[in-house]
């Protein structure tokens, strides 16, 4: 019968050996109150090879749910690292080099886009002309099947405007609205 002695101390080990010897030889009858000892000596085994692994059990127990380890940041990103990303040259606003001066009004305009000021001016005049048309027509769906001509103060309809509808505007002709 082999006894597993775990204690490294030699005195304790010798004491345990003596106690166990007495138990075996029956010189200690009152050890377990006359009954069978709850534990019996067993073969001592060395090594972790037979230790049950919790990981295998856990994975083998629930094959349906396979555990997926999600990606998570390990360390907090410092403000210096964050600044390098926020202030990278690709994230800064690029300077626009396509800005010119409008030759008509002198405001700034982008090269490939109409001048905002001139466009607003034309839009306003168009709105007033449309109001005159609405007053003449009187309601929706009354547009005649002829062309329209806009005449300003002091202008008479010419021979070309024979069959056309005439819209009067009570102001001087603007310089940018060229008369045919």
């Amino acid at each position: 019968v082999l006894v597993l002695v775990c204690s490294p101390l030699p005195r304790l080990r010798s004491l345990l050996q003596r106690c166990w010897g007495r138990l075996e030889r029956g010189l200690w009858p009152g050890a377990f109150g006359g009954k069978i000892p709850p534990w019996v000596p067993a073969l001592a085994v060395q090594g972790p090879s037979l230790v049950p692994r919790g990981i295998d059990d856990a994975e083998a127990a629930s094959p349906q749910e396979g555990v997926v380890w999600m990606a998570a940041p390990k360390q907090r990103r410092t403000v210096e690292v964050n600044r390098c990303r926020w202030r990278h040259p690709s994230k800064l606003i690029a300077i626009k080099r396509n800005i010119d001066v409008c030759p008509e009004c002198g405001n700034l305009k982008q090269k490939h886009i109409l001048c905002g000021h001139c466009y607003a001016k034309v839009k306003e005049e168009t709105r007033l002309i449309r109001m005159e048309i609405y007053k003449k027509e009187g309601g929706p769906f009354n547009a005649p099947a002829v062309e329209t001509v806009v005449l300003y103060e002091g202008e008479k309809p010419t021979e070309k405007d024979e069959g056309k509808r005439i819209i009067e505007r009570a102001r001087k002709r603007p310089s940018w609205f060229v008369q045919n």
Binding site: W86, R87, K91, L92, I93, I95, K96, I99, L108, Q110
Partner: protein, 203 residues
């Protein structure tokens, strides 16, 4: 030299810093709480008055400080615009801001125009185009936390952010941009650092 020393000594105790205008009695200038709660440091920078310059000194360029507080915009997004116009002349800055699609561009344009007008009216600037932007910064305004409703009865807390914008205009053409550092300059600096080393804890 003696006059300059005396001027330098009393420079910390300049009462003009605290006086709103050139009034004589200091007690009448104590602001009570009925007026603006707290005048920020940037607004006070416009109040400094330098002593008259001596005939031989080079002309000190005019500096105009202007700011706008509690703009409903994010300070990080506003920072990109502030970085864009830093160091430009005021005309170029106004042109860039006019064609920028960002919300803060409109606000900064108004601030620059106000500052330009202030410069011409109050700060004795002769030509309104002869200004450049020396500093342009953003600051954090007061944040307010609010509930943002998600689906399924869930909610999150969002913060409504505001920012301040500060600008300093200086008279004169904009300074030329610094040339990028070449490898030769870096090597020279390195050699100089090596030469500056001394022996420590020795005789």
């Amino acid at each position: 030299a003696g006059a300059a020393w005396a001027r330098g000594l009393l420079s910390w105790a300049r009462p003009e810093r605290w006086l709103a205008s050139g009034s004589f009695f200091p007690l009448s200038c104590i602001h009570t709480s009925t007026s603006l709660q707290k005048i920020g440091k940037w607004e006070k920078k416009n109040r400094i008055v330098y002593p008259p310059q001596l005939p031989g000194e080079p002309r000190r360029p005019a500096e105009i400080y202007h700011c706008r507080r509690e703009i409903k915009y994010s300070k990080d997004k506003m920072w990109y615009l502030a970085k864009l116009i830093k160091g430009m002349s005021i005309d170029q800055a106004l042109a860039q801001l006019e064609f920028s699609d960002k919300k803060g561009a409109k606000v900064i344009k108004e601030v620059l125009l106000e500052a330009q007008e202030m410069a011409v009216r109050k700060h004795n600037v002769e030509f309104k185009s002869n200004l450049h932007i020396a500093e342009s910064q953003t600051g954090r305004g007061r944040y307010v936390k609010r509930v943002r409703c998600h689906g399924k009865g869930m909610f999150g807390m969002m913060k409504i952010s505001r920012c301040h914008y500060f600008v300093k205009l200086v008279e004169g053409p904009p300074p030329p941009p610094e040339p990028p550092k070449t490898g030769f300059d870096q090597a020279k600096e390195y050699v100089q650092q090596l030469r500056n080393r001394t022996l420590v804890h020795t005789l």
